[in-house]
Symmetry: D2
Subunit: 319 residues, 4 copies
């Protein structure tokens, strides 16, 4: 699948999917990469740890911990499973952040994406539903519950609308506000439609454009911002070219024909023509999926940032 | 392509694409179907006339006139081509409606779809940008330009949100308001991504669910409503299963392998799994495409309904 | 206050405020009108019963029961008080509707107002958060919890945008769908800013334009629709002319000056000039107030329509 | 009117209204302040120049040029007057900015306010309709018309939602992007309902909180950002306390009674009670007024920033 990803300049945002791509059809271990799976009633938690440069090179992303919480009811805001997902996020966030974050430290939330384009509005919606407290510390400390830390947030918009790189916006805020931790939330691209609205990935590596190691100009991470960055995301689309390639591969497999990657790529380029790699595949229910996962993710993060504060109290500080 | 359309219960909304499906790779004439093409600088107008039951059966839609205006700049609201598209719509609308509509007759506009789901919001947005005048006739006739007919509009919502069939909502309004003509606007599904935001189809046959002849319970047409119904639409999505099938077919063609429709269908069902036929392919720019085509379509229809009234004046009556 | 209400064609939507206007500064009983007050920890329930024509004439609204649930935390979606308000609504709805509604009967919800104008979007938002089940009865009965009745809903829009009277839209739906009960929700105008986002009025009299008895052409009630209509509303605005008059009256009272109603009216007309009676006073937090009260009201109504179904289950059927 | 403004912590955003407050009922000249009026068919342009500290103290705002374009059709997006307003803005912007801005210089647009609260969404909507070009300079210079300068934009949100001061967001962007000029757009509060959607104020002094000289911590101006800042705004609300006071004053005047400012203030505080100074008066049409004025303002500013580029071309670069 490498060639189609390069051709259309696609992201492999999920570490669990990168692992599958590296492994191919086998199940061999990847050197420098460790994996752990925890299964509960409605939820499965994969933890992939990239331990060194060998693992990093193989997986196409920086060393660090990548936690993926899988739960199909995420997408429907199932009131019965919601609390389980929130608790799994709370626990994972603590593992990823506890070394950086002391009581009272300020946290900056960043919601990437475009609130006017549904499938890309997860980040801004996450911000909307997150409890924000930093201004109360300045102007009305009596309105805070004892022990609430300062949390602030921004949805910086996207390059095509602002003409600004995300880093150009965030770097200055980090300098002025001096948070101890940045949590950045974004909609992700998956390689498989089943992932849409079903997984939450959380990692302590920040965000690199293209999900890769490349260009530092646009990364949001410790190296570029000087503070630890936890990246959180949920898949909302699959690129249409991926679906097309999967179809061809599956058909070849099912019919015993030979699959040729380059020829497949050319056929796909022909049928996607004008819009090329910009075609996204989403379920009809995408608006609801975004809404529901944004609400659950905002509560999962909030519960970890405000330990001991109840869900009901937190909701009073959300917008 | 028939099997995939049946399997996933898809629509072939565009008559020009139904014609291509019927013809296959050939270019033979279809009995009972006539076609005419007019080419201008930025616009191509296809007029397909289904003349009898033979044509109707072949094309899978009722006898009548289907006009398709093709213009790639439609999707970007190109200020230079906009006026050309509006004039083409005005002219086509007149051909489709002039036998039914006299000066002063009331017209009801119906915008189908769900304004909260981007790719399905074309109908409601069309209503939003259309000049509405009927209430002025009752309450403030002095606010109307001489010769403006009564035009009213409704966006009835979708079954999944209202629990109501469209026909249940519209039938009563038609009875109470007694319009001479109904114009119904909806987002369409295409068989080809190039069609998205590039074509406007207008027909004098009304709307049938599935684009087909079947169930009259849900149709909006002369038979069910007792008044002529002009259907207007613009493609905003392609079903993901169509893309997958096109990819397999193209790959077989390009590599000289044999294409088997049933095996292809099974491979596709496997890769689309959970979401099945509900996966839509849209360009990343879909929000803008909807916005731009809704504005142009509302002006094209308005200019035909209010002959002699300038664009500037009409804009004053839009919401 | 009568003259200003006539002059600017204002509504006195709340029965409790109509009662205050009738009584003036006194506390005398109004012939033909009975009142009962129930006080709980966070909630006060006023029940005003207009028993005959004498009461109806005095109060400027038809005979019937008007329940007002007062609870200041309504506007902030306080998670601690929310359940109390929902239970108060459930109980009041039962008193108002139980004579009309048997298990399995269909209910039609109507959300009046304009979803694009914040202070007027309560009705459409109420619809959005209400569980809708009627289409499952037709297409997927297995997806329903045992005992769920068919509930459908529509937000018909406003005259200025559709060119249609609400009655013209609703009458036909009632004829086609044959519901046993209609529940209509609308944003209300109050006489006092303290009422905004603090009260819910529920009555078994339906809706009359101007809150009055007048013109039947636009009413939604038993007389015009042939089925019982329960009207539910929450105040979201006060007209600016009311504020202006209250200020003048209070100043006269505080300074011992004489208040002259006609002169006051003229002064007010001068300062409101161009926009006249169309000026609404709303708190800066109006968007949140609408959002929160719509959510609580949808759950209060839903709980009464689906007895025995849990909150969590109901949320799965909301959009 | 001073006492009510202090009591409720209100802004006098418009220089033309500050002048009226200073002058009272007289028409005397204000030392250190010059005024010029230009009248055209549909438009009146007031230019107030505060020349020194004496004028600054009297007017409660920094020395500089304040241009107010008055045109009642602004609020309805009248297609006949639109071009006149755009040209008046273009001309005024040039007077205010030409000393700072050379061909090719980068400009940063800042849209203040909250896009989720209608009356406060003018700034974010202005950004939405403005042509943005900076990213093309980096990634696709061939997509630009010859001579287009880099323009970028951000809507930083409001303190209550982000927990961030505007200056904390903007300062870093200015440091990273190094624009030659900042244009900041915001919704304004007027003292008079006639001003709503009827005036555009443009000044070369930047923005100070409270429209005053006070606290530099929150100002956006040359002093705090190190670059020239042009502030542009349109009145969208009047505070309810202002309306109340005007009503009392007018009534006293009309009836020959004595007006007492302190007593008036106390009466007003009583009637506004719970919501205090947060009550805003807006016309029912506020959503349309915001939409229309945002579109016109974005074009007026764009035409001045991109001289020689046609309206049609500019629209292709707006989002």
């Amino acid at each position: 699948m490498e060639s189609i990803i390069r051709e259309f300049n696609l992201n492999v945002d999920l570490a669990v999917e990168a692992r599958d791509l590296v492994r191919g059809s086998g199940t061999r271990e990847i050197p420098g990469v460790e994996e752990e799976i925890e299964e509960m009633e409605n939820i499965k938690i994969h933890t992939i740890t990239i331990k060194d440069d060998t693992g990093s090179k193989a997986m196409g992303r920086p060393p660090g911990i990548y936690v993926t919480i899988e739960s199909p009811p995420l997408k429907i805001n199932d009131p019965y499973v919601k609390e389980d997902i929130i608790q799994a996020m709370e626990k994972s966030m603590k593992i990823l952040s506890e070394q950086y974050l002391r009581a009272g430290d300020t946290v900056l939330l960043v919601g990437l994406g475009n609130w006017r384009a549904t499938a890309d509005s997860l980040g801004p919606k996450f911000i909307q539903y997150s409890p924000i407290t930093r201004h109360y510390h300045h102007y009305a400390p009596e309105a805070l519950v004892e022990g609430m830390r300062p949390v602030c947030a921004i949805a910086p918009g996207v390059l095509g609308i602002t003409g600004l790189e995300t880093q150009e916006v965030i770097k200055g805020i980090v300098n002025n506000v001096q948070p101890a931790l940045l949590v950045v939330v974004d909609a992700l691209a998956a390689q498989n439609v089943d992932r849409i609205g079903n997984s939450i990935q959380m990692s302590n590596t920040g965000i690199q454009p293209g999900g890769g190691i490349g260009n530092m100009r646009h990364a949001l991470n410790m190296e570029t911002l000087g503070i630890p960055v936890i990246a959180v995301g949920c898949p909302t689309i699959v690129n249409a070219s991926i679906i097309a390639q999967q179809a061809i591969k599956k058909y070849c497999l099912d019919t015993g024909m030979m699959y040729n990657d380059l020829k497949s790529l050319n056929s796909i380029k022909d049928i996607l023509s004008y819009f090329g790699g910009s075609l996204a595949v989403t379920p009809k229910e995408i608006d609801d999926i975004i809404e529901n996962s944004a609400r659950i993710m905002s509560m999962g993060i909030a519960r970890s940032l405000f330990p001991g504060i109840s869900q009901e109290q937190l909701e009073l500080y959300a917008n």
